[in-house]
């Protein structure tokens, strides 16, 4: 009986750790997105400071490609929106994962209790 519980416990524990990892991954991805967001914001603002006389280049690999200022601005704005959307997605994902991990935690704790009780019984018996 105790062994069975123990097995269950281990299984749950693994699931829980896996969940935690996923949560951490999403968290880091979201953080990356955040930095990109701030960076793109700065780029946008600085582009506003420029005027059409300046040429804008985009670094694609080892090449600096000439870009039109307006086009560049539009691109940056689109990228900003994309990043925001991604952040939202990650937010929802994180919430779900948190909830699931909570559930797992509860299951884990209850299993642990059972296990301890079973162990106590076993000890008592012994």
């Amino acid at each position: 009986m105790a062994e069975a519980i123990q097995k269950k416990l281990n299984a749950e524990l693994e699931k829980y750790t896996q969940m935690q990892k996923d949560v951490r991954k999403s968290m880091s991805a979201r953080q990356k997105l955040e930095t990109q967001l701030t960076e793109n914001n700065i780029v946008k603002e600085e582009m506003d400071l420029l005027d059409s006389t300046n040429t804008v280049y985009k670094l694609i690999g080892p090449v600096l490609v000439k870009q039109d200022l307006d086009e560049a601005k539009a691109t940056v704005t689109k990228r900003l929106e994309y990043i925001n959307g991604e952040i939202q997605r990650y937010e929802t994902l994180l919430k779900d994962m948190e909830k699931k991990s909570e559930q797992h935690r509860e299951v884990l704790s209850s299993l642990q209790q059972e296990f301890q009780r079973a162990q106590g019984l076993a000890v008592g018996k012994v």
Binding site: E46, L49, L59, V76
Partner: protein, 496 residues
């Protein structure tokens, strides 16, 4: 003690850990601050360089060649700068434009730095606190945890409630409604004398309403003038004086001034017809008769308002009547007969004050301020006997119920009360003290020439709510006047 010691130790561990965590945060903040400071320094240097670069067309420099070698060379196109904007975007610009970009970035860096310093300070404070807590838990003897059972808030609360100063548009309206009905009911149902007077008052009420409307203007002015400081004293005096004058024209509503103002308005309307004479003394009652002025901070107001035939009001009315009697006799000898009725009816602002009377040693002592919620236990107006809060609600309920019941009652003020109820702005709930000290010093009321503009809405000018309410009912009042008359008559008939 062992348990406590144990608990303390646990606390200590927790506190220690807390402190350590806080310190970690502080350290982290410090490192970040260093980083940003470095960045800021770099940008400053860059700014300098951009400033001086365009000074010369070309520079002779040693060009780095790989990681270990340099080569002499020339720096050309000194004004053309290719700036990295971030996220793999570059922009060719002049040195000045580049400077602009650099300044913009500096701003960002500064803001970050500020935030970090703020958080650092915050956490430093927390660290300090945790340290203190630690020492506290460690050395129990030195520090003492002071605890106080918070269980005596009831009285405080109640007291506070009791002492709620009336604000315009607060309960009074409800009370007023109640009172008005009550008053009207009382008037109709009261004693036989009152019934007679009720009839009279009904008719008078209508006239009084007009008068009171005019008085309202006066009151408003007075209120503004005698704001706060003179509220109690002047109100009563002014009220009284006005009352006296009102006796004739039912216009010196101003006597009410101040608090009574908003209450008086309803009073004036209500009581104009009825208690002109009583105005002097019973400004409070004025409201009750027509627009009820209910100073019902406390439960007592129900009682205070003599209007309703309910027990409470009767109680009040009796005393009031006595008081008013004496007062009236002073001023209007002919009003004695109406004293009872007038007591119930609030035709003038003074009536209101009459209503709010403190009973001390069996004597009625006018309250100084009827605006204040019952602060005196033995005040007649306030429901001293009951919890103010509860009573207040009750009163309101009663008032409302009264107002509703009005239709059923055959009171003289039936129609009036209905209309007046919305307009009847209860003098600030019973908590008001008797504004009228008993001495009526009538000033010349504003000439009735005062335009009816303000009078039409019975609402006291100070209280918008009331006005709104009153305005609404005001519209009907004129229409209902004829109806009311009939109702009153009907009531009278019924009474008879």
């Amino acid at each position: 003690m062992a348990e406590k010691g144990q608990v303390n130790i646990d606390h200590l561990d927790g506190v220690v850990r807390l402190r350590e965590e806080h310190e970690k945060v502080v350290k982290d903040c410090e490192s970040r601050v260093l980083h940003w400071k470095k960045v800021s320094g770099d940008y400053e240097a860059l700014n300098e360089r951009l400033q001086t670069l365009p000074d010369q067309l070309t520079y002779d420099i040693m060009v780095p060649f790989g990681p270990l070698a340099f080569m002499p060379g020339k720096l050309v196109h000194t004004n053309e700068i290719t700036a990295l904007l971030g996220d793999n975007w570059f922009a060719k610009c002049s040195a000045k434009q580049a400077q602009k970009i650099v300044n913009h970035r500096m701003k960002y860096v500064k803001s970050k730095l500020e935030d970090l310093t703020k958080t650092m300070k915050n956490f430093e404070a927390r660290v300090g606190f945790a340290k203190n807590l630690e020492t506290m838990t460690a050395n129990k003897s030195d520090y003492v945890d002071i605890r106080e059972e918070a269980g005596n808030n009831d009285t405080a609360v109640s007291k506070g409630k009791q002492r709620i100063a009336h604000k315009p548009n607060s309960k009074p309206k409800l009370d007023a409604v109640l009172d008005l009905r009550e008053d009207e009911e009382n008037e109709g149902e009261g004693r036989d004398e009152e019934s007679r007077k009720g009839i009279l008052t009904e008719e008078e009420l209508w006239a009084r309403l007009d008068e009171l409307e005019k008085l309202e203007e006066l009151q408003d002015e007075q209120d503004r003038l005698s704001d706060n400081a003179d509220m109690n004293g002047e109100d009563t005096s002014s009220l009284s004086s006005e009352e006296e004058k009102d006796g004739d024209a039912a216009t010196p509503v101003n006597g009410l001034s101040l608090k009574p103002s908003w209450t008086s308005v309803p009073h004036s309307k209500a009581s104009t017809s009825i208690d002109r004479k009583e105005e002097e003394d019973d400004e409070e009652e004025e409201g009750s008769s027509l627009p009820t002025i209910f100073f019902s901070h406390t439960v007592e107001p129900k009682k205070v308002r003599i209007n309703t035939g309910k027990n409470t009001t009767l109680k009040f009315s009796e005393r009031k009547e006595q008081k008013e009697h004496s007062k009236r006799k002073k001023k209007n000898g002919h009003n004695n007969g109406h004293s009872h009725h007038e007591l119930h009816k609030i035709t003038t602002p003074a009536d209101i004050y009459r209503l709010f009377v403190d009973v001390k040693n069996g004597e009625l002592i006018p309250r100084k301020s009827i605006l204040k919620s019952r602060s005196r236990e033995n005040s007649v107006c306030s429901d001293t006997s009951e919890s103010s809060a509860a009573d207040f609600e009750e009163r309101r309920m009663i008032g409302r119920s009264f107002s509703h019941d009005e239709a059923t009652h055959s009171d003289t003020s039936d129609g009036i009360t209905e209309e007046d109820s919305p307009t009847a702005i209860p003098l600030h709930p019973a908590n008001r003290f008797e504004a009228f000290s008993g001495t009526v010093v009538e000033k010349d009321p504003m000439p009735s020439a005062v335009p009816h503009l303000t009078i039409v809405p019975p609402a006291l000018p100070t209280i918008l709510e009331r006005k709104q309410e009153e305005v609404a009912p005001d519209a009907p009042p004129p229409e209902q006047a004829p109806k009311r008359v009939s109702k009153f008559k009907a009531a009278r008939l019924q009474q008879k």
